[in-house]
């Protein structure tokens, strides 16, 4: 086996194992820690795909910032064992139905992958590099880039309006 393939299988196993542990662990703080493992494994996959910008962004934004948010959410809740909310039976059934629907969508999407593999679009190994991405972002996609800043502005206003209820 090539070293890339060994890395690929190692990272895949790590990601799936981390995701399973995240879902099944009882303590929400452990769930967050396992989620960080999943993020790092996915970043490794990005590097294998030569999408280095995505890998770094995934670590900085998701493992760095979004995880802090998750931890704050966990700390905002009351975590004493006796106040653990009892799960509704109908809620569980709804969760199973929703999960199965998502699975169905994934399987349906994967079934088409054979046709897509027949005509692969190879753009060389430098598609995901920061230089290429920046060139495309600031020439062809300037307008969506500016619109995203409006989106951030609205997110800021929303956070302040919701979080600052007093006045």
């Amino acid at each position: 086996m090539e070293i890339t393939q060994i890395l690929f299988w190692f990272l895949s196993v790590l990601a799936v194992f981390g995701a399973l542990m995240m879902v099944t662990s009882k303590n929400p703080v452990y769930s967050v820690l396992w989620l960080i493992v999943v993020f790092f494994a996915i970043s490794g996959h990005y590097i294998l795909l030569n999408a280095q910008f995505l890998a770094i962004v995934n670590i900085i934004v998701y493992a760095g910032a979004i995880m802090v948010l998750f931890l704050f959410v966990i700390m905002l809740m009351n975590l004493n064992a006796e106040t653990e909310p009892q799960k509704n039976k109908w809620l569980k059934i709804a969760g199973v139905v929703a999960g199965c629907s998502l699975m169905l969508v994934f399987v349906a999407a994967l079934r088409q992958s054979d046709e897509l593999l027949k005509a692969p679009v190879s753009m060389g190994g430098e598609t995901g590099l920061i230089k290429t991405l920046g060139k495309t972002l600031f020439t062809d996609y300037v307008l969506p880039f500016e619109i995203s800043s409006v989106l951030f502005l609205s997110a800021m206003v929303g956070a302040v309006v919701i979080g600052k209820k007093g006045d």
Partner: protein, 139 residues
């Protein structure tokens, strides 16, 4: 089939290979492996080698010599969450600077204007946050 996805092993892309290849990340991988391995080995070794004579006093949580009272699992103030959300937004703003910095000279004035507008929108948001007093800690 897998070779299709690993673009860096694609023989067509020999140009990029010299400068920016995934194999450049090999030292970083070694470093992460070493860091994690060092921590894990140290923790396991101290657990195995250190003597354990637990007493009730030793097993207490250490709080600078003050006796423990209350519960650590209190719900926190929502103020922390607001600061964290604003941090995430400005963090994402910084992310967009990396591709611009790499292409700074090639993009010229048009890129500069685009980034200036982007930062301008963020400054509007920042002004709003400051004016609303979202970052003042004391109410």
């Amino acid at each position: 089939m897998l070779e299709l996805f690993f673009l860096q092993s694609n023989p067509a892309s020999t140009v990029a290979k010299a400068v920016n290849d995934s194999s450049n990340y090999f030292p970083i991988g070694i470093q992460i492996l070493f860091a994690v391995g060092f921590v894990a080995v140290m923790m396991v070794l101290t657990h195995l080698l250190g003597p354990k004579r637990p007493t009730a006093q030793k097993l207490e949580n250490f709080e600078s010599g003050i006796e423990i009272h209350g519960n650590a699992r209190q719900p926190m103030a929502v103020k922390y969450f607001l600061v964290a959300i604003l941090f995430v937004l400005f963090d994402v703003e910084v992310i967009f600077f990396y591709p611009y910095a790499v292409n700074f000279k090639e993009l010229g004035w048009s890129g500069f204007v685009a980034v200036l507008m982007f930062v301008g929108f963020f400054l509007c948001g920042f002004y709003y946050i400051i004016k609303k007093g979202a970052l003042t800690w004391e109410d």
